[in-house]
Amino acid sequence: MTKVLIIDDEVNLRETIAEMLSYTGYHVCLAKDGIEGLTKVVEFQPDIIICDVMMPELDGYGFVEQHKSSQYADVPVVLLTAKVEQKDEEYGLSLGVKAYIRKPFTFKDLQEKINLFVKS
């Protein structure tokens, strides 16, 4: 079962995404910001990380930077964000994330990205 870590400070959104992914057969773990996210990567060892950008404490960009220099750097990250401008996407991709999904997204988009980047 594919393990997905969802990092988002909005409780309603992260729980909805989690419910959706659980319902469609993924194993899900949640974190409320980048700092908790880094801990959960170690504990949960996900196959892919879905991460928000604008969060208190450690934001998505900060999370990606630290994640990329950790021993789990191979675990792909997809940013899921309300920052919709082209330059935000370019910055995100320059940090080495696999994809940049703008909010609001469709489940199909999300699922396609997960399946594309998780090593089968």
Binding site: E10, T16, V84, K103, P104
Partner: protein, 365 residues
């Protein structure tokens, strides 16, 4: 001698300040208007340096000007603040030129006018412009913040609606189709709000001069193909874009993102307003020094009386009822086309279809 008296009469009676200076700039003659303008007695100023009356912040540029008139024999016109006999400063404009006797410079003359009112008016204009800029900035930031802040709750609602649909597909109860229909409405309306938010954000960003614009030489045929393949190859009703390129590898100097956005919107309109009326055509041709893209549909068309107003914000044709739209699409299409030195034309016949033409100058090496 008589002529000299006339000049003296003029100088003594003018409301501007008229002065004669020695070559070291000291006053040789000061007209009586100095009393009204600055409150000094003309006699007390003879032999003094004009610099004594100039505001410290204007002193450097004033000295440079005085130097240049003597050294380079240049006339000058300069705005400076001068001090009155109460120590208060106000704005004046001074014009000066050399005075010659037997072709030898013996000093210079200056005429100085009170420009306080003009300066006040300039300041008001400057303040108003600054205020307008700040308001524009504020509006852009506000629109941008709203767009960010609304996006996450919109996503939660949309995702929840999708989740409900998934649950419905796996359960058996009578009202499931009705619930599914309502949930679909929720999703569609969320998409509509987001589309509107995006359009308002795009316009507001452009108003504030913040649209990212990086023109490069690009291949217009390739851009057309990319837009079609990414967004119009899997239409639900299997309709297609029929492409005809009169010429291949057409180069224009433009921002490819804005061109893609424009083409996407033109094609998306064509499909939206021609449901059940066959394929959409895209023709690319060359006319003189321009490349022209015609996007043609056989849809509902636009009433004559609406056609000229369609490029206004929030204006929608009277026959567009029941077809979702923001009323901002064509406005943005024109905005981005203009930015890329292009023009948009629209031809339409009610009930027969619409042709939107984008025309850009060809790139020449």
């Amino acid at each position: 001698m008589k002529q000299k008296n006339w000049y003296r009469l003029l100088a003594d009676n003018t409301i501007d300040l008229v002065c004669l200076h020695n070559l070291d700039a000291t006053f040789k003659y000061v007209s009586p208007s100095i009393q009204i303008l600055l409150g000094y007695d003309p006699e007390e100023m003879i032999g003094k340096y004009p610099e004594e009356y100039v505001h410290p912040e204007d002193l450097e540029k004033f000295k440079i000007r005085i130097g240049s008139i003597i050294k380079d024999k240049e006339r000058f016109s300069e705005q400076v603040r001068l001090k009155n006999n109460k120590g208060e400063y106000s704005w004046f404009e001074t014009n000066a030129s050399l005075v010659y006797e037997n072709d030898i410079p013996v000093g210079f003359q200056s005429s100085t006018r009170d420009i306080t009112q003009r300066k006040k008016a300039e300041q008001i204009i400057e303040d108003t412009l600054l205020q307008e800029r700040q308001l524009n900035e504020l509006r852009t930031n506000l629109v941008s913040t709203i767009s960010h802040e609304f996006r996450t709750p919109m996503t939660t609602i949309r995702t929840s609606a999708e989740l409900i649909t998934m649950y419905l597909q796996n359960c058996q109860f009578n009202e499931a189709p009705q619930i599914e229909k309502r949930v679909k409405t929720i999703t569609e309306e969320i998409d509509r709000i987001v589309e509107l938010m995006d359009a308002v954000l795009t316009i507001s960003k452009d108003d504030a001069g913040k649209t990212s614009f990086n023109p490069i030489v690009c291949n217009l045929n390739e851009i057309c193909i990319e837009v079609i393949e990414t967004s119009f190859n899997n239409q639900k009703d299997n309709r297609k874009v029929e492409v005809f390129f009169e010429v291949l590898n057409v180069a224009i100097f433009a921002d490819s993102n804005l061109i893609k956005y424009t083409l996407f919107n033109v094609l998306s309109n064509a499909f939206k307003y021609s449901e059940g009326c066959g394929n959409v055509k895209l023709n690319l041709s060359i006319i003189d020094d321009f490349v022209q893209i015609d996007v043609i549909d056989n849809g509902i068309g636009i009433p004559k009386e609406d056609q000229s107003k369609l490029f206004n914000t929030f204006y929608r044709a009277s026959n567009s009822n029941g077809i979702q739209g923001t009323g901002l699409g064509l406005y943005i299409i024109r905005m981005f086309t203009k930015k890329n030195s292009g023009r948009v034309y629209l031809e339409s016949e009610l009930g027969k279809g619409t042709k939107v033409t984008l025309r850009f100058p060809l790139y020449k090496n």
